[in-house]
């Protein structure tokens, strides 16, 4: 499945929940499909989407919080999986788009072709950790995780098939933050 297809499946389930996006194509893809005030787009600080998401989830315990992460980002901050598991926020859903490469820098391979990140998350102590490979599985599995107690981890295997014509996030970093904070205080 292509990344775009996976996003579309997820978007059909997402309402007004905050979504923290890892840097790179994840932001561009999501921004182009559906820009939302509750989307926090990272344009730098690779590896930190997961810790930002954990901070939001812990300070807004009644608000389901979603992280859109990538395999390179998760590998860079594998220790954050332990922090999430230890803090165990029930309201956190960690989605990882795993294309097995650093696509935005020229598709150099990551390690996730041999390292099962969902197994790392599960053994770290996430309540649920699921891998999906077929488009048809994405929506039902994500729906179930959104309705269950977390922290949960959803690894979606996608093709490295980013369309370079996809637009870039046009908001400034300060705008992204201000919108996100507005959305958080008025869900």
């Amino acid at each position: 499945m292509k990344g775009t297809e996976a996003y579309q499946e997820l978007l059909s389930v997402i309402g007004d929940e905050p979504v923290i996006h890892a840097n790179g194509y994840i932001c561009r893809e999501s921004f182009s499909l559906k820009d939302r005030e509750a989307n926090f787009y990272m344009i730098g600080s690779m590896g930190l989407a997961s810790s930002i998401g954990l901070g939001v989830a812990l300070c807004k315990p009644e608000q389901k919080t979603i992280i859109f992460d990538g395999d390179g980002n998760v590998l860079m901050s594998m220790g954050t999986l332990a922090m999430i598991a230890a803090a165990a926020p029930k309201n956190l859903v960690h989605v990882v788009f795993d294309n097995q490469v650093y696509e935005s820098t020229g598709s150099q391979r990551s390690l996730s072709n041999v390292i099962a990140l969902e197994a790392v998350a599960k053994s770290s102590g996430y309540r649920e950790a699921v891998k999906v490979t077929r488009k048809e599985e994405v929506k039902p599995v994500f729906e179930k995780l959104m309705q269950s107690e977390g922290p949960s981890f959803l690894l979606i295997k996608v093709e490295p098939a980013f369309n370079p014509a996809t637009g870039r996030v046009t908001h400034t970093p300060e705008e992204i933050k201000a919108r996100f904070m507005r959305a958080l205080s008025n869900p």
Binding site: G55, L58, C59, M83, L184
Partner: protein, 165 residues
């Protein structure tokens, strides 16, 4: 010497509610007091940059954060400070122990001890050296930065807080 307990109370009075970090012996009294206090929680972070992320999330969710770390962690955090906090304008109060201050410390601390002030200056991160006498003024300065949505660092030399190790 500053009392860890009363300094934490001072931070709470200023609205700080979220505490995380990576330990340093110079901050051991502060962290113990945070762990002991009934109305505060301290979340151990695995790396300093992950703590920067946590604090950013907390701030955007409406909670003022404090990040405790050794100056060795500054190296790990520089990219997070420059490509997250400074460009999005996400404030965090950083309490950073100053190992290697004055060139007297274990070898691994000497270089960072010499350059941590320059690194903070070069990257545009405002800071102050916290002392027993200036903490009220320095916290005012920090709050001014936080309200302007900029990070602020308090450098802590050995002996300012009690150590428990």
């Amino acid at each position: 010497m500053l009392s860890s307990k009363s300094f934490i109370a001072e931070l709470q009075n200023n609205g700080f509610k979220f505490f995380t970090g990576v330990p340093c012996s110079l901050l051991s009294g502060l962290i113990s007091s945070l762990e002991d206090a009934p109305d505060v929680s301290y979340l151990p972070a695995v790396r300093e940059d992950a703590a920067v992320g946590l604090c950013a999330g907390a701030y955007m969710a409406g909670t003022l954060p404090v990040l405790l770390m050794q100056n060795s962690g500054l190296g790990y955090c520089l990219n997070a400070f420059t490509s997250l906090n400074l460009i999005y304008k996400i404030p965090t109060l950083v309490i950073m122990s100053w190992r290697g201050c004055g060139g007297k410390d274990a070898p691994e601390h000497i270089i960072m001890g010499e350059i941590n002030e320059d690194l903070l200056k070069t990257s545009g991160m405002d800071y102050a050296i916290l002392t027993e006498d200036n903490y009220a003024d320095v916290l005012k300065q920090a709050m001014k930065n936080i309200k302007a949505e900029l990070p602020f660092t308090l450098l802590v030399k050995k002996g300012l807080f009690d150590e428990r190790h």
